[in-house]
Amino acid sequence: MLSLLADSMFFPPERSTVAGTVDGLFDFIYYLSLFFFVLIVGAMVYFVMKYYQRPGHTEQPSPSHNETLEITWSVIPSILVGVIFFFGFTEYLNMREPPENAYEIQVIASKWNWVFKYPNGAESSDLHIPVNRDVKFLLQSQDVLHSFYIPAFRIKMDCVPARYTSTWTRATETTGSGLDESSHKPLRLFCAEYCGQQHSIMHRKVFVHDTAEFDQWAEKAANILENNPPEVAGEILFKRKGCAQCHSVDGDNSAKYPGPPLNGQWGTERQVIPRGSSSPKTVTMDENYVRQSIRQPNSEIVVGRKPGMTVFTPQLLKDEEITAIIAYLKTLK
């Protein structure tokens, strides 16, 4: 029964080449710990039952120390933890060292958004990877610490601002077939390092495709601006770049969305407070206002809102993409 517990209860499915080894080490430590735990607690319970204070029972003399015994129970655990340490670090070195010729995906974390950039220029907000191929993730952060965590692959690495970190994986199973996302059972990707307000919703889906299908997906994802009319491309970008995390498009103005809702706003006026000023001024939502709000979001803050939006530099969002997003915003009623 205990083995059943250990295998089915403690883990998400094993979906990478390292997952099996990691779980094996976990199980080894688990049974070892269980043995010592039963030993200690068993001895404790036995002593209590045998020697509890009662009429007619008094303590009996016994040695107050026994060096042989004490050295034994110091040395045996030392050897065992040495073994655990050895397995732990050899596998770890393997996990840290990406294989050569791995497919490289750039991961850019920001508050509170993931952007995945593929070698062919495609970008996505959910992660797509090919099956049975080494994939290296080059991690960056735009602002604070984040952590790239995919439980099913047993990988995790912090994204540190002004520094690159990396990790890698090799998926062993696809999550489904076809380009339609609804035909997949995606895995989960979490941000595991606390990063502020929306840390808890900074999780995404992971899709594992077979190789041919992945190429197809990447091809399509690379050319959204060419393949779609501007407002459709704008909608894809609006979701992909994380705008939808903070701005609702259905008028929802609850605290779930820190930014103002964006539907029905085109051409309307609003009060904003320019940075460094205390008096509000009135602006109209037009192309230039939207562009400025994306490029320099903290230069003017709508009355009643807090600054905090990601600064979208041209590296993160190209000019053509802003144009497409503007086209999309115009369609929102």
Binding site: M9, F10, P12, V18, V22, L25, F26, I29, Y30, S33, F37, I40, M44, F47, Y51, Y52, Q53, E59, Q60, S62, S64, H65, E70, W73, S74, P77, V81, G82, I84, F85, F87, G88, F89, E91, Y92, L93, M95, E97, V144, L145, S147, Y149, P151, I155, K156, M157, D158, V160, A162, T165, R188, A192, E193, Y194, G196, Q197, H199, S200, S254, A255
Partner: protein, 569 residues
């Protein structure tokens, strides 16, 4: 700097009255707030830290209630995403800085340690009082942070988030800085007291193990806390002056902050657990009526833990991007620190062998400790091993692990120690039945709270999430039910003690038959502790103590054959 104060003179005047004790010798607010008596300072610490424990506990229950449903139980206007972040930050910060670090040294340490060495007070009574006053100031700064814009950095203050957040990081860091000095003063006092004020005959290896533990703790307090101080000063400089050392946008290194922070905060977990281990050594011996098994190993292991604890801080940063070589070294050192803890657990268990085990409330807590601390310690192996830590880092597995050690370890031992020394502190006996009952409730509630967290952690649930995906709900529900049970148990355990103050029967000088010096003076002790320096016996030799049913406690049996020397060397 005259040392003649009004209290000491008054106390001297009252000291001749045999019914007078440290609680009754003087009265009035000022006689407490500015007392130099280590016992009163200990009692004030006790009140203060339990107020902090209550605040932290309420925050914890709010967290657990909120996590009952995946989207969060409370509506946005009560607990928003920001609100949740503030809750867990303040829970962690209050519990760590205000409660658990000062808990045992501040209250039981202050009260018991000078009695154990047969001294009239600690070496620097004024500094001791300053330590408590600083604790109060630190607490005030935390309250300022709480009622202004709060704090949402996590108790670890990781940069660069702590540089840019709008919440009141300054107030909280000032608070933690001040509390650091409070902790240093306590530690410094204890080291000097143990070094210079032991009575003749009490050699190092005739000291009670609680003293060894407090001594080892004090070493860490002195060596590690200043580094926290400078780290917090640098963080303040970062926010106020923009000095840039930890700010990547200014060319600084945010990971350096983690190194600085954990250089203090890892040893700090031993500041939390070592005194608890000291209490355990006392309880296991007294309630088994056996000399502690392997005194020397336990004493040395405390010092080993204190020193090795300084070399393992990097194990909090296995996925921070530090080099693989550093990670491997830190992992190896981490395993080395597990051995002294294991030795202690084996020795405590072996102490019960052939004893006469009195299942009084403190012993029930001690047995709970062995159960819970074993789980806490053994789960540390999963986190020390690099390959498994990658998966488990920053998940609920870690949360469960450190709660098993900190709460299942330190808090349980603390409550056990409190029940043990309560008759000495206040001169009353509590109700044993309810004491044991609530111990059982706490034990059950604790396991129900944190065992499910191991499972959801290894299944990938990250910590510090206000909302979560549905597959983890069952574990959260179990955990929340456990937390409520635990809350009831803790409140009940405290209520038993408070009720005893009013209804408890008068305590004899030595209700448990313990052989350390504090039990040779009356309960509660007189202002001066000991009129004459007491005679030093072996701290764990019970052969000459006999139960006297008439007074309900143990007395020296004049007929007992007195063993010469001690059982250990």
């Amino acid at each position: 700097m005259s040392t003649i104060t009004p209290e000491t003179q008054t106390a001297t005047g009252h000291n001749d009255d045999p019914s007078s004790n440290y609680l009754t010798c003087t009265s009035g607010f000022m006689s407490w707030a500015f007392t130099l008596d280590h016992k009163r300072i200990g009692v004030m610490y006790l009140v203060g830290i339990f107020a902090a424990f209550f605040l932290g506990g309420v925050l914890a229950l709010m967290l657990r209630m909120h996590l009952l449903v995946p989207g969060g139980l409370f509506p946005d206007w009560m607990v928003s995403l920001d609100g949740y972040n503030q809750l867990f930050t303040l829970h962690g910060a209050v519990m760590t800085f205000l409660f658990i670090i000062p808990s045992i040294p501040g209250s039981l340490g202050n009260f018991v340690l000078p009695l154990m060495v047969g001294a009239k007070d600690v070496a620097f009574p004024r500094m001791n009082l300053a330590s408590f006053h600083l604790w109060v100031f630190g607490a005030i700064f935390f309250l300022i942070a709480l009622v202004t814009t709060g704090l949402d950095t996590g108790w670890t203050f990781y940069t660069p988030y702590s540089i840019e957040t709008q919440t009141n990081v300054i107030a909280a860091t000032i608070g933690a800085f001040i509390l650091g000095f409070s902790s240093i003063f306590t530690g410094l006092n204890f080291i000097v007291t143990v070094n210079t004020m032991r009575p003749p005959g009490m050699t190092w290896f005739k000291m009670p193990l609680f003293m060894w533990a407090i001594y080892a703790t004090a070493i860490i307090q002195i060596l590690a806390t200043p580094v926290l101080g400078i780290t917090l000063l640098l963080l303040m400089g970062e926010r106020l002056l923009g000095i840039g050392i930890f700010d990547p946008s200014m060319g600084g290194d945010p990971v350096l902050f983690q190194h600085f922070f954990w250089f203090y905060s890892h040893p700090a977990v031993y500041i939390m657990i070592l005194p608890a281990m000291g209490i355990m050594s006392e309880l296991m011996s007294v309630y088994s009526r056996k000399p502690i098994f392997g005194y020397t190993f336990i004493a040395y292991s405390s010092i080993a833990i204190a020193l090795l604890g300084f070399l393992v801080w990097g194990h909090h940063m296995f996925v921070s991007g530090q080099s693989p070589m550093a990670a491997v070294i830190f992992s190896g050192l981490t395993f080395s620190v597990s051995i002294p803890s294991a030795i202690k657990v084996f020795n405590w268990t072996a102490t019960m062998y052939k004893g006469s085990i009195n299942l009084a409330t403190p012993m029930c807590y001690a047995l709970s400790f062995i159960f819970l601390f074993s789980i806490g310690g053994l789960t540390g192996l999963f986190l020390g091993a690099l390959a498994t830590d990658i998966h488990l880092h920053d998940t609920y597995f870690v949360v469960a692990h450190f709660h098993y050690v900190m709460m299942g370890g330190t808090v349980i031992a603390f409550v056990g120690g409190l029940y043990h020394w309560w008759p000495k502190m206040f001169g009353v006996m509590y109700n044993e039945f309810f004491g044991r009952l609530f111990c059982a409730v706490v034990f059950f509630g604790f396991n129900l709270t944190f065992l499910p967290q191991f499972v959801m952690g290894s299944r990938g649930m990250p910590r510090r999430y206000a909302t979560y995906v549905e597959e983890y709900q069952i574990f959260h529900v179990l955990s929340t039910i456990g937390a409520l049970t635990l809350g009831i148990g803790m409140v009940g355990a405290m209520a038993v003690l408070v009720v005893s103050l009013f209804k408890g029967r008068k305590a004899p000088a030595n209700p448990w038959g313990a052989a350390t010096l504090e039990w040779t003076c009356t309960s509660p002790p007189p202002y001066y502790n000991f009129e004459h320096a007491p005679h030093v016996d072996s701290p764990y030799d019970y052969s000459d103590l006999k139960y006297d049913a008439q007074i309900g406690g143990y007395v020296k049996d004049p007929n007992a054959p007195k063993k010469s020397g001690s059982d250990h060397h």
